[in-house]
Amino acid sequence: MPEGAGAVPGEGRTPATVVIRGGTVVDAHGARRADVVVSGGTFVDVSPRVEIRSGAAELDAGGCLVTPGLVDLHAHLRQPGDEEAETVETASRAAALGGFTAVVAMPNTDPPVDSAAVAHEVLDLAAGAMCHVAVAGAITVGRAGEHLAPMRELAALGVRLFTDDGTGVQDPGVMRRALEYARGLGVTLAQHCEDRSLAGGGHMHEGAWSSRLGVPGVPSEAEELMVGRDIALCRLTGGRVHFLHLSTARSVALVAAAKAEGLPVSAEVTPHHLTLTDAELAGFDPVFKVNPPLRTAADVGALRDACARGIVDAVATDHAPHPAEKKDAPLDTAAPGMLGLQTALPVTLGALGATPSGRNGHASGAPGDAREPVMDVRDVLALLSWLPAHIAGLARQQGGDQGGPIEAGAPANLCVFDPTAKWTLDEAAIASRSRNTPWLGRVLVGQVRHTLYRGDPVVVDGEARR
């Protein structure tokens, strides 16, 4: 905790004024050297050299990038129903530590968010969170893929994304009606693309590794079939479709073609699909079991390439906490999913070549590292902040306060990180209630130093303030 000029932000108390000193501001407008003064929840001054105001708390940002708070389109907060795995409170702390100032809570809770009552429950829980929690609603009642959920009622509560995530809407007729019904609500339908019949209860990518290991696999085509189907339904209905956690080369090629056609589609990828391959499953370690599964090195390369070419709109974590007893099991009975909020920034920067040492930073399974797709750090941050803010309906132009830009008068949601700092994730530093991350003990490059949520320094010097 830095002592010195001005008061250090105290627990549960928003200081009157905070000065973020010595960093480089990066947002949709570009990069520039600037100090940032925050007061009353908004930026009051952004300029190369601001004067110390008496009573202001000062946060050091030397060598750091100062960027709009990150926005995660895809997090499983597990509340209500699976509080052993995670809660809104613990997930929001993990999010803040990871530099996020907003997360979209997936609706596959128990009960699912398919009614106003459950949406209200999550929103109530989110009131005291360390970041903004936007609630996604289910497309169908019980996520069963049959009857439409009350999207109008949920939209009136501020729900902007609808998805049956965890499963895809299997029936094309139902998906068509959902897209038609959603017209005029100002919402986006997000699809977990997985054809259940083709996926057939698989536990990893179907390919050379699954064949050798004798593990039932999920073919790439199980995803691609539904991506192709929903592009067709998008064309048919004019409804906006967001593709969740795309994992294959052909999926992003389909999205590229749909975008070239002018269809209103968007797509996200996860940090782990940008870095890890199915070869990680060689030891049957369930920490690498995710849905969609880790694919091949060629897929990883194609996803990175799609990020660099603007085909992918967002990097989203698919933060999926599971308690040890659901992961400490044989691969086929272990639950799919891994944590993501606290590691998304360094893993993504490393995968997309935006940190100087990132290409060597991630030891394992980072195929394509030799290709060096190198994106500008601003373009990587776009994928982590202002582009997903738009998809979630949280951008300023949409009435929200996320995604920047960092300018006087704007709401103060901020992530300050050191792009070259090397650190190792250890178990004690995990804020989630669960521990299922493959990055434990690995050296990561790029570390969040401070996070400001609505002007409140919720993370200072890498420590959560509450």
Binding site: G207, S211, G217, P219, L331, T333
Partner: protein
Amino acid sequence: MTQRRHLLSVNDLSPDEIAEVLRVSDAFVEVGHRDIPKVPALRGRTVVTVFAEQSTRTRLSFETAAKRLSADVLSFGLEGSSVKKGESLRDTVETVAALGVDAFVVRHPSAGAPAAVARWVDASVINAGDGWHEHPTQALLDCYTIRQVLAERSGQPLEKAGTECFVGLRVAVVGDVRHSRVARSVIWALAALGTEITIVAPGSLLPPSLEGWPVAAVSHDLDGVLPNVDICYLLRLQIERGTGEFLPSAREYSAGYGLSVRRAERMAEDALVMHPGPMNRGIEIADEVATLPRSVVLRQVANGVAVRMAVLFMLLGRAAESVPVPPAAMLGTVGA
């Protein structure tokens, strides 16, 4: 295998290590012929068999092997708890490990379950069959049986037989490779020793990918392959796991891929028929073929005990010093 703690996959073994297992097995085959077929090699050691799946021969074979080595044997069945399969596996094995166990012999319906057990306990873990993944000791006893038969035919003393006899040997592996843990062990073990392998199966029973598999050819024509093989290795059709999705009927499979009497006549006179058991007589193998002299199915079973003794001995029996074959003292008769 001198430095190894676990046997989870045949991929863990180099060709030299496989050859070493076969050599050590020779000594234990000899033990099996004694009046009192028991040695003190693992006296004071405890071996537990944890079987989460129905099995008669493999379990009996391992337990016999451990007892003939004078190990204490515990037997743990998980069949009853298969409703919640896997969920309590960690608790189960940690509880058993707390009793003081030197080796776990694990059979489980989930691929990778023995690897999980190896992460959880300090003891040695031997994979006795996991899902569709592997069954390494089956592959080792198959290799042993082939070498034994070929050595007998050439009149060579077994202890002089190396693994040269495998080089160039043509083996057809026939049947449900997709769902076969035996195939995933035996193909890699035989290929490591220099055999030339042809997989013969209907398309729906092939693995989704054969990338990286050490096979020379894939065929859907058993009649065409049989005249050109030295060994026809038949896999069990997993009828109990349901073939409906993969095959029109067992009858149609049998018509295309079963080793009938007529088909067996297409084989070279000295070619062998092998099967890991238990056999579905009348489906993948005709009753009459199973009893032909060319069928070595019962020898496979008989050799299983000696090979598993070798594996247990090599993983557990050599404390500090590493020795290529069991010293005479360790193979002395119990009580001598």
